[in-house]
Symmetry: C2
């Protein structure tokens, strides 16, 4: 591979790795918050799911995605992907409490 190309590719990959580290840490922080929400709702006897809140989140994320030149459909899929993991955590918590 040409030296100049290799240097450019290496710099871009370093940037991607930096972004990925940030993403992993932001996700870890997000799950800290959703676990607190889960515990709070369980204590207060509130339902785990809130359709209005979810609709607001999707609408907001799609708007933010458009502003950032990101495909809004991808942003929505991304939120769904994370929420599926949140639900898995909540189910695990409920299972652990039931033992």
């Amino acid at each position: 591979m040409d030296k100049e190309i290799a240097a450019k590719l290496g710099a871009l990959r370093q940037s991607i790795d930096n972004v990925d580290a940030a993403l992993v840490h932001m996700l870890a922080e997000r799950f800290q918050f959703t676990q607190q929400v889960g515990r709070l709702k369980a204590q207060a006897g509130l339902p785990a799911s809130d359709k209005q809140r979810e609709a607001d989140q999707i609408a907001r994320l799609r708007r933010l995605a458009e502003e950032a030149n990101l495909d809004p459909a991808f942003a929505e899929e991304f939120l769904n992907f994370i929420v599926a993991e949140v639900i898995r955590h909540h189910e695990k918590l409920a299972d652990d409490n039931g033992k």
Copy 2:
């Protein structure tokens, strides 16, 4: 809903919304970089896929996830989810160039 509970829930949701805005913007930035990688590889005649690079990324992300108390399997799924979108972008680019 109890006022104290509502205030706590509102604060947690604000934090989640802040994290989500950060995630969307980091993702937008990541796709900027991967699009540059795609163009660079196309110009240099390099293959789009690099199995060693992908294996390194997965290993690194799993390690970072463990340090952040995030499920490494989720971190790997997350990377696969993003990479699928990157491939979609590259295919779209190739289609557009073929027109």
